[in-house]
């Protein structure tokens, strides 16, 4: 499935605010390193993300570039 939260890893400063406000605990600080030396946040459990956008709202660096929601399937 397509990612519901699009994170620009280069903009992330590893502040952890998105991780702290996520009600479903589907974000974490990754082991990766970006070119500024920060460990960017990652969405590790896409299925359980409810697309609330709390991470987008609190991110001070506009590193959460998009939050998307699955469209309901119409029969």
């Amino acid at each position: 499935m397509e990612k519901k939260v699009i994170i620009n890893e280069e903009r992330c400063k590893s502040c952890g605010l998105c991780v702290s406000v996520c009600p479903k605990h589907v974000l974490r600080i990754s082991e990766k390193l970006n070119s500024n030396g920060y460990h960017p946040a990652e969405l590790f459990d896409n299925d359980n993300c409810i697309s609330c956008g709390f991470c987008y709202l609190i991110c001070p660096d506009a590193a959460i570039e998009e939050v998307r929601r699955l469209e309901p399937v119409r029969k």
Binding site: G16, F54, I58, P60, D61, A62, E66, V67, E71
Partner: protein
């Protein structure tokens, strides 16, 4: 997939110079979102202050000027009067607006200048290393109040919105907080009303945003947001202090 949120267009590709977790960036995004939604980006002139947000013009892509310390409201006055068709924002910290620039701020408000002020209260002088600001809480330790702010020696925290709401010029005065998603949504609603006060030519508008300075507070970004709720909001309550007819 339906897009719920998208980084607003006026936010530039340049990474900010703010410390990790600094809410200045949240305030920037709110300004950018509203400029985009209200179709004001092309008309906007942002007056940037002296303080950590001194490089703001690299982070929000509008026309901009850089004011001398504290003089942003005076500069914004001149720009708005010469170019009344422009949309003028003055973005200022608490050291900038409430200390060295308090005279410019109060008189711009008293004259009812058609400008919108974004006022970031992080309780200290961030850029210069965390000295006491007029907004520092009683008992708060800063580099210039190492034993905590003492009312007898250092005076009391200054409540700018309450003060400005007592004069006639302002059309919209409010205080919001940037500590949680819920408060950030509310902050955007308040800021929209402040912008509307200018687009409808109703008068001066200001929104104080309770912010954090994790670096100088010596707290992690998450702890700094918790401190806002625990210690700052009881002294600086969220609310609308003046709402002129027509602002909604």
């Amino acid at each position: 997939m339906k897009i719920i949120y998208k980084k607003p267009e006026p936010i530039t590709k340049t990474h900010t110079t703010y410390c990790p977790g600094c809410p200045h960036g949240i305030a920037h995004r709110l300004v950018a979102e509203l400029l985009e939604e209200m179709n004001l980006t092309k008309k906007a002139v942002i007056v940037w202050p002296v303080g950590c947000s001194v490089f703001g013009y690299y982070f929000i892509g509008t026309d901009a000027v850089e004011a001398a310390h504290g003089r942003a409201c005076a500069m914004a006055t001149g720009i708005k009067r010469v170019h009344p068709e422009s949309f003028v924002i003055s973005y200022q910290g608490d050291g900038d607006l409430a200390s060295i620039g308090i005279a410019e701020t109060v008189h711009a408000a008293a004259r009812g200048e058609r400008i919108s002020v974004v006022y970031i209260n992080n309780g200290n002088y961030g850029m210069t290393g965390g000295q006491m600001a007029p907004t520092t809480l009683l008992g708060q330790r800063t580099t210039t109040t190492p034993y905590g702010r003492d009312a007898k020696l250092n005076g009391f925290p200054l409540h700018v919105p309450e003060m400005l709401a007592a004069i006639d010029g302002p059309a919209y005065i409010a205080r919001a907080a940037l500590d949680s998603p819920q408060h950030i949504i509310q902050a955007k609603k308040f800021l929209k009303k402040a912008f509307t006060a200018q687009t409808k030519d109703l008068g001066f508008s200001l929104v104080e945003m309770i912010s954090a300075c994790p670096t100088n507070w010596k707290l992690s970004p998450v702890e700094a947001m918790e401190r806002i709720r625990r210690e700052v909001l009881p002294v600086f309550p969220i609310g609308e202090f003046k709402v002129a007819k027509g602002v909604e």
